[in-house]
Amino acid sequence: MAAIQNIEMKNTRTKVLYGAIVAFLVVGGIVQILPMFLMITGAFKTDTQLSQIPPVFWPTGWDFGAIFEVLDAYHMGRNFLNTFYICAGVILIQVPTSAMAAFSLSKLKPKGGKIVFLYFIATMMFSAQAQIFPLYIMLASLNVLNFKTTYVLVCSIGITNIVLFKGFFDNIPKSLEEAAKVDGASSMKIFTSIVLPLSKPVFMVVILNVFMATYNDFFTSLMLLPDEVNWTVMIRLYSAQSMGGISLHALYSLLTVATVPILLVYVFAQKYLIEGISLTGIKG
């Protein structure tokens, strides 16, 4: 709740203070949104408009055709297919395995379960960036670089998600599973008919987390998928601008189109997205 109480809002000094806060936030919010605004409107401006000083803030027309031409020229269709293939693969492997592992640790509690959990969470101390180098050599010597399946398998483990699932399952009352056990239900049956139906919110949060992380991933895919046919959207963005010679309109079109899926996720699943960030952001 807010420090400024509603009853205080009547007196002038508080009103001025409140106005100042709002004004400050409006200015800051404009600065915050400006790069995104320029990026999206930039996709609808011509190259001359984009290199003009003072800048043109509002595009004169909304030419979607020019954007599609850019996407074609840079094979973005293929890049999107790769990205979505990878996202689907990682979600399909990671989410069920994490949920089942968490279920086992939380409800079945096998002997040595605590050690297994420690074995999992110890990897949260690892620097993902530094680990890529030996992983790269390992995969190169096995000749499995440049396969999307390799990437999917490498990314198919998410300890944060096991922790999230476990935290959620721990809060499901014991009496439910005990009742099922008395009726002779197997572990799998308890998982699918009792735990799963109750866990829709945590599944939504985890699926979104995995999607966002995989979609936005850059360095891992750059190392593991160096061949152009396997490039994801993010590698395309990086290579398109680092090779030079790209027109501003083309660049802004690529950036904008790459951002659209994330904006759609935001529009349709805002609640779970925000929940996921406040849950995992703190745990790091």
Binding site: I4, L38, M39, Q129, M138, F218, L237, A258
Partner: protein, 302 residues
């Protein structure tokens, strides 16, 4: 007699049932255990192993060289220089990026009907793909047609070289961080601020505490732990910095923003010096590991 028989029967069933339970419990765990071993633990061993060799990609693992790679890193002035760049990024991040999300969260928490609009505005750039926003900012700083020179010209400041100017480049690269990750951190602070019960503020108002005192004594303590945690996380992450410099400047101008991992990456890709790249990444790995271990211990003490 009947009772005894039944008991022993159920006892036997009990034992085999527990064994079965154990097995089925581990069946649920087996895939993650294997994946974690394959892609988390084994690469560390591979990395340590390789760092003792002069690697030959055709004829693995190549010649055993003992600690030579580590001695080379220890003597390499570029290692110290690039590590200092990492620390510089951290310091700039503290000055320009660490505290504004806290202030913004405290301010947004005071707003009423506009709260969700502000939340969206400040949060949106944080979920946009990091690479896309980083590239966008690179072009905002572009000296010829970028927005930055136009904005400063409104205040009568002559055009700057921004990313090409060694004196400004750290500022230019830290400022987008404020907007991109700042939105995320703001959201995390705001989430815990909204959990503070109104009675606390009400009571403080009755006691006659001013708005500023209420923020200082009630709002701020509510997020004190998260602020501490955020600080620790950014300290731990100092040497992980790689993608930002790689995309924005490629380490330039004149290597002034090259971080340790970017240096390792260049060693691997430009000069195929994999053993040395992996030795450097091992050094980073162990620094991060020790840092996180200390953080975990501190957390337990709380």
């Amino acid at each position: 007699m009947k009772i005894v028989a039944r008991e022993s029967l159920s006892g036997r069933r009990g034992i085999s049932a527990t064994v079965k339970d154990q097995i089925s419990a581990y069946l649920f765990l087996i895939l993650p255990i294997i994946f974690v071993a394959l892609f988390k633990y084994i690469p560390i061993c591979v990395g340590i192993f390789i760092s003792f060799f002069k690697i030959d990609i055709v004829n693995l693992p190549g010649d055993f060289v003992g600690f030579d790679n580590y001695i080379r890193a220890f003597k390499d002035p570029l290692v110290y220089q690039t590590m200092w760049h990492n620390i510089k990024f951290f310091l700039y991040g503290m000055v320009f990026g660490f505290w504004p999300p806290i202030v913004v969260a405290l301010l947004i928490n005071e707003t009423r009907s506009l709260r969700s609009a502000f939340r969206i505005a400040y949060f949106l750039p944080a979920i946009a793909p990091g690479i896309a926003m980083t590239i966008m900012w690179k072009y905002m700083w572009q000296p010829d047609f970028g927005l930055a020179n136009y904005v400063v010209s409104l205040f009568g400041v002559p055009p700057q070289l921004w990313l090409n100017d060694p004196r400004l480049v750290y500022f230019c690269m830290s400022f987008p961080g404020l907007i991109m990750t700042g939105g995320m951190n703001m959201l995390i602070y705001l989430a815990s601020l909204q959990e503070v019960p109104n009675e606390h503020y009400e009571a403080a108002l009755i006691e006659g505490a001013s708005v500023l005192r209420r923020v200082w004594h009630i709002s701020l303590p509510a997020i004190k732990n998260i602020i501490g945690l955020m600080f620790l996380l950014s300290v731990i992450g100092i040497f992980n910095n790689l993608e930002g410099p790689m995309v924005t400047t490629g380490g330039g101008p004149a290597g002034s923003t090259e971080t340790i991992l970017l240096y390792a990456y260049k060693k691997a890709t430009n000069s195929m010096d994999y053993s040395y790249a992996i030795t450097l990444s091992n050094v980073v790995f162990f620094i991060v590991l020790i840092g996180t271990a200390i953080q975990q211990m501190l957390k337990k003490e709380d």
